[in-house]
Symmetry: C2
Subunit: 196 residues, 2 copies
């Protein structure tokens, strides 16, 4: 249940094996996620790490906690990739467009991540929450900057856009002919047009 954004990381007073196993698990999970997708069986991750399943659950109570931990750096990089100060940028819509494509590329390269983020499966809600918590403010800022510049219509909510883009990235693995990037572009174009 607990969202458990950061389980507990005062970092200092943890037993050495705990810290070692946590890192082992993160490495194993990263490898398995690439090989079998983010919804790979828990046992497979445990085997890859050479640890028991209970150890996984002790460190990462829900699957989303593990996924978030594995991708944390990349999500942070994504958040940081957006221009911090909007006023400095004279082309806010271009900045928005660039960042959304970065976001989409990130999702597409992590097999099953987009699917999982919008899944109703138990344990995945906090994954959704994490993404919303970290990236929604960024997207909202970009969106408001564009709206202020009159480049897009102002009544589109960042939340809707974020979920929509995430949704458009679903199925790229399953259906090789599907071009998610083109569709994301189309959505962004629609955003700009409604301003007219």
């Amino acid at each position: 249940m607990a969202t458990a954004g950061t389980p507990a990381e005062p970092a200092g007073h943890k037993r050495s094996d705990v810290r070692r196993n946590e890192q082992t698990l993160l490495d194993a999970a990263a490898a398995v996620f690439v090989r079998s997708g983010v919804d790979a069986p828990v046992r497979e991750i445990a085997a890859e790490a050479g640890l028991g399943v209970a150890t996984i659950y002790r460190h990462f109570p829900t699957r989303a906690d593990l996924v978030v931990a594995v991708f944390r750096h990349q999500v942070d990089a994504l958040a940081a990739a957006a221009p911090m100060e909007a006023p400095a940028d004279d082309k806010p819509y271009e900045a928005l467009r660039r960042w959304v494509h970065h976001f989409a590329d990130f999702l597409v390269t992590k097999h099953g991540l987009a699917e999982a983020m919008h899944s109703d499966q138990a344990g995945f809600e906090s994954l959704h929450n994490e993404f919303v918590e970290r990236l929604l403010p960024v997207l909202d800022r970009l969106l408001k900057a564009s709206a202020a510049a009159g480049a897009i219509c102002a009544d589109v909510r960042a939340y809707d856009l974020m979920l929509a883009v995430g949704n458009l990235c679903i199925g790229v693995d399953t259906f090789p002919d599907y071009r998610s990037r083109r569709m994301v572009d189309l959505l962004l174009t629609g955003l700009a047009t409604t301003a007219g």
Copy 2:
């Protein structure tokens, strides 16, 4: 494996209990799909029908076969809802827009159908195939008519658009705040704009 569009329906030479049970299953499945979504446990459908699980598998080898059979009439209606003769319509883009929204509304009201259609789970491929087979020609016709009228850009493929719209309908149950309809509209707007 078999796509099994129409398992075998010469209708005449089937045992009476077979036909009766098939209808019972369809009714039960329809009820359960509404209550628990299209990915409800097989046992639940069997219980609702008062039949064994093997009977379900005998009539509908894959889950998609059952889903397709339950929604066949509505999918047909959807296909028929598109204007048959494009030339007669002087506003092809409006027709396209209307039909796509019909399609989206259909998906949204069937809990989990959009998710299932783009799932990589075994047994769901034929669901995707069925939708593509039945609705893609319709969408393609609408799209070509709009393109011919110069209302939209011509380089968007019907397949991409269909999957994109389907994707945008994912998550409406899980995330009540997500407005899929608005996002579908945005996508359609983008389609029109790129023509400019």
